[in-house]
């Protein structure tokens, strides 16, 4: 077996040193009734690199890759071009095969990268401090809700209808066990983001208000107004962003008064990967909240010779020290995805991110205008970044399937996202990025025209 260096000669010599007659003898603590004497039956035996690659390639070819079709899916995961440099650098063994940097003397590469990453995220979000990443946007969102409960000592969570329904689902699942009380209604598909109605539901028992920016419909809620109302009631505003490229064009949530800003970082550097691994981003506007934050934090310090260096710090918040008193049970962050994000963001820089955002917005506007001209289709949004919602004359879910058969991945149907909400069944969320070209947009328009005729 190509991954196992020991030879039979080695094994014999080592068993001699140990004083054991066989490798099986080393497993003597397992009762004979339960010990497996040979390979588990019914499973294949070892295979060559060629054979495994062939098997996996065959599976991969049963999927329609986004790059092989006009592609308009978004709703929390976005297809962006990732420069070849990113993938090359994250595959350097010193990054790829390193452990969590608990030994800072020999992990400055990862640590400095994390410090840079935290600084980039904090700036992008308009916050003072960001952590070293979390599993994904949905778990980061839940952790923010838990943190707000700790901070305000209240347990009523007001979730805006515009939050991604899977994020809501995660929060509802976890709340069942932690006794947080979740107030949530699915969105109304109209141009107005519904800030007025949301504000009316904030009260003195509200721990936090959770608002996605831009939201699942593609609208851009007025965070400053919501922040003001939340703060007046002693509640925190949690802003959730699932498309970081949008923040190249939109005001940063922290600058609008959001207290905790969380989100999905997948768009920058990570790729679609059928949903994971992704990259949870987590930041707080006021550095006073740092000790309530979940997740790893990297900080600057000096070494014994006075040289600048970086370490994981404030680790007393974490499970390996606090055990049942930890701020979160999370142990792993999303280090390699954070590296990919940071490299891509460094390649972009301020100028590149602004340009990328502008290009996304331009193409999305173009697509919205062309789609609005398709008979029977109405564009719901007045305001959007690179994603907007169509109201169709028919149920969107079967339509999306029919278009997929024609080789067009038309977007994400609200029917799939909200299976229980009949009022949303005709909604289709369409995302347009720099990877979409005008020919793709035309292909979508004509496929829709044909299908709706």
């Amino acid at each position: 077996m190509r991954y196992l260096p020991l030879t039979d000669t080695d094994r014999t010599a080592m068993l001699d040193t140990i004083g054991a007659p066989s490798v099986d003898a080393l497993f003597a603590d397992i009762a004979p009734a339960q010990y497996l004497g040979g390979p588990i039956e019914g499973l294949p035996l070892h295979a060559t690199e060629m054979a495994v690659e062939k098997h996996m390639r065959a599976l991969s070819q049963q999927n329609l890759a986004a790059g092989d079709a006009p592609f308009f899916c978004g709703a929390g995961a976005y297809r962006h071009h990732v420069p070849a440099t990113v993938d090359h650098l994250i595959q350097r063994g010193e990054f790829l095969t390193a452990y969590t940097p608990y030994q800072p003397e020999i992990a400055q590469g990862t640590l400095q990268m994390l410090f840079e990453f935290q600084s980039q995220v904090a700036r992008l979000y308009g916050c003072a401090v960001a952590n070293a990443s979390m599993y994904d946007g949905s778990t980061a969102c839940w952790e923010a809700i838990v943190m707000a409960g700790r901070q305000t000592k209240r347990n009523r969570v007001l979730i805006d209808g515009g939050l991604h329904p899977h994020y809501v689902g995660v929060a509802q699942t976890m709340a069942k066990f932690t006794h947080a009380e979740i107030a949530y209604e699915p969105p109304v598909v109209e141009a107005d983001a519904g800030e007025e109605a949301l504000i009316a539901r904030i009260d003195e028992t509200t721990s936090c208000v959770v608002v996605q920016y831009p939201d699942i419909i593609g609208r851009v809620p007025d965070l400053a107004r919501i922040a003001e109302a939340a703060h007046a009631a002693g509640a925190l505003l949690i802003a959730v962003n699932t498309e970081p490229v949008a923040l190249g064009a939109l005001e940063a949530p922290g600058n609008l008064g959001a207290d905790i800003v969380v989100g999905e970082g997948q768009s920058i550097g990570v790729g679609l990967q059928f949903g994971g691994p992704y990259l949870g981003l987590f930041a707080v506007r006021d550095s006073k909240l740092v000790r309530q934050m979940p997740g790893r934090l990297c900080g600057e310090t000096v070494d014994a010779d006075g040289k600048r260096g970086f370490v994981l710090t404030l680790s007393t918040r974490e499970q390996h020290i606090r055990r049942e008193k930890a701020t979160s049970n999370i142990c792993t962050n999303s280090g390699l995805c954070a590296l990919a994000f940071s490299i891509h963001m460094t390649l972009l820089g301020e100028k590149g991110l602004n340009g990328l955002a502008a290009e996304n917005h331009r193409l999305a506007c173009l697509a919205a205008d062309k789609l609005a001209a398709v008979p029977g289709i109405e564009v719901v949004n007045e305001v959007f970044f690179n994603e907007f919602t169509l109201r169709l004359p028919v149920e969107s879910r079967p339509l999306v399937r029919a278009l997929a058969e024609k080789g067009v991945l038309a977007g994400v149907s609200l029917g799939r996202l909200f299976p229980d909400a009949d009022a949303l069944a005709n909604g289709l969320v369409v995302a347009v990025t720099e990877t979409t070209n005008e020919a793709d947009i035309d292909a979508l328009c004509s496929a829709l025209t044909e299908e709706l005729a």
Binding site: M1, I30, I90, L96, P104, I106, F274, G276, L347, G349
Partner: protein
């Protein structure tokens, strides 16, 4: 809030940083292949970009409304060559499995095959959206299902929840399954029992799920005290969380009896699967009565640690717990088609008791492709050989060092895949930390230290199966030398490492005055050594 980028033009590594370079100072602070690297904020600027964007054609009216950004973000950009150099230089300050032995107990730092990486990057896996119509992602569902099948067969369990994103997330999934199962039968129990030697995530997870945590006592040989456990079981105990092999590197011989006792008292058994690498293909947790166990794909199945994630923690479940596993999941139908089960079709697939959703999409697909590739490469025979070699390597280290290091549980028999030592016999003032930092100078990553808590100055060494005998012999030689130095009280160890990119770092300073994001330094360019503001 947003500060301008590097207005002062200050950067480290210029002449002032060189005075500690020993007998042969350099003006740059660099030492041949060891290159100091400033932060991107110190070398980048707002005008530079390493990405060429398409030239915008035509113009459309903005739909951003009143929400357009008003000021700069403050993000530095680098050109492509500068970017490559920056991250390449940083990478060289890291230790990694690709460089050498990584004996971190309970972390299973094994070789990461590159075929895994190649497969994960096939466009049919890497470039697929999680919400594409199901008919366009049959191969992706096939990967999830095929991996699920292997995990079930290898563990002898009934079902598997694939979505948890890492070990601790998997633990939470397992505990929530237990809680949902108890609630479904109207049985409110409040206590989870956890051994003192457990990973800190175990009590943190149980507490997060709303349980009170109590210790399970251990016996003198480092295993769970079965009689004491039995005495504690009762109608208030929801379950136990046990690590097997345990964190002392020993197999819990009484596991089946423990499970039977817990079940008889109406509770469930959670097993922390962090150490599955020791027993893969040798014993099936299902045969030991376990109800739920997470599997760290980033440990046992070689998906890369990536400097701290991403991980992946599928949870195998017993027949009693399977109906409660979270959505979404895949299931093979009688017609052979693999179905994606989500909220809307959970009832029709007999899964209406699912406790909910733990993550937005389908779990760590990129890790699934890698883990399946690894498993198919090994096959049932190779996986069994892997656990055998892992245990052989650990026992070889145990017996090669137990005359110079105290092995508190090593006398009574073999260990599993990790060897545990304590600091008994070290000279006054010498610590496990000193020995571990000495190991850095010898070219190895330190072992897991001060864990488990039940052994004073614990050193937990897990070589894994992907080390050669020659590599291990060199490690043993280094360890024997360091053990002698620690016993003799060699003062030079107290300031080790001496050859790493950095000497010991001041962690107290980092925690007292946290500096967690870059901001403009409060020194003028070229004015001397850089000092952290407020660090005094």
């Amino acid at each position: 809030m947003n500060k301008p980028i590097n207005q002062s033009g200050w950067r480290p590594g210029t002449p002032m940083a060189s005075e500690d370079a020993g007998a042969h100072p350099t003006v740059t602070g660099n030492k041949a292949l060891m290159l100091e690297e400033p932060l991107i904020f110190e070398i980048g600027n707002a005008e530079t970009t390493g990405v060429d964007l398409p030239q915008a054609k035509g113009d459309t009216a903005s739909r951003l409304g009143s929400h357009a950004r008003k000021g700069p973000i403050g993000l530095p950009g680098l050109s492509e060559p500068e970017t490559v150099r920056h991250y390449t230089r940083l990478s060289r300050q890291n230790y990694a499995i690709d460089l050498g032995l990584f004996p971190l107990g309970s972390c299973t730092m094994k070789h990461n095959p590159r075929l895994n990486e190649k497969v994960a990057r096939m466009p049919g896996f890497a470039d697929v959206h999680p919400l594409q119509p199901v008919d366009t992602v049959r191969g992706a569902l096939g990967v999830i299902n095929e991996l699920a099948h292997w995990l079930i067969e290898l563990t002898g369990m009934h079902g598997v929840a694939m979505t948890p994103k890492a070990g601790a997330h998997g633990e939470l999934c397992g505990i929530l399954c237990i809680r949902a199962a108890l609630e479904a039968r109207g049985d409110a129990r409040e206590v989870i029992l956890v051994p003192e030697s457990a990973h800190g995530t175990n009590p943190a997870t149980a507490a997060f799920a709303g349980y009170k945590v109590e210790d399970i006592p251990a016996n003198a040989e480092g295993r769970v005290d079965l009689e004491a456990l039995k005495a504690r079981l009762g109608p208030d105990v929801a379950g136990v969380m046990i690590t097997n092999p345990n964190t002392c590197g020993l197999f819990e011989r009484d596991m089946k009896a423990i499970s039977d006792a817990v079940h008889a008292a109406g509770g469930f058994v959670y097993c922390d699967g962090a150490n599955f690498n020791a027993i893969m293909g040798r014993v099936r947790p299902g045969d030991l009565g376990i109800d739920a166990m997470h599997i760290n794909l980033h440990k046992t199945f070689s998906t890369p640690h990536g400097g701290g994630g991403p991980g992946s923690g599928p949870v195998v479940l017993s027949e009693a717990l399977s109906p409660f596993g979270p959505l979404p999941f895949t299931a093979k139908m009688s017609d052979g088609i693999i179905q994606l089960v989500e909220e809307e079709n959970a009832s029709e697939h007999g899964h209406k008791q699912a406790f909910g959703r733990m993550t937005a999409f389908h779990g760590q697909m990129g890790m699934f492709t890698r883990a399946l590739t690894y498993i198919l490469s090994h096959g049932a025979d190779g996986l069994r050989q892997a656990s055998g070699d892992a245990v052989l390597n650990a026992n070889y280290i145990l017996r090669s060092l137990d005359d110079v290091l105290d092995a508190p549980f090593g006398k009574t028999g073999p260990c599993m895949h990790e060897a545990l030592f304590g600091d008994a016999g070290f000279a006054e003032g010498m610590s496990t930390l000193d020995l571990a930092k000495g190991l850095i100078d010898e070219g190895f990553h330190p072992m897991t230290m001060y864990f488990p808590l039940v052994v004073h100055g614990a050193m937990l060494i897990e070589p894994t199966e992907t080390e050669s005998k020659a590599g291990i012999d060199q490690f043993v030689m280094a360890m024997r030398s360091l053990a002698e130095r620690a016993r003799a009280g060699d003062e030079a160890l107290k300031t080790a490492p001496h050859h790493a990119p950095r000497a010991r770092l001041d962690e107290a300073m980092a925690a007292r005055k946290p500096r967690l994001a870059w901001s403009e330094p409060e020194v003028a360019p070229g004015s001397g050594n850089y000092e952290i503001p407020g660090a005094g």
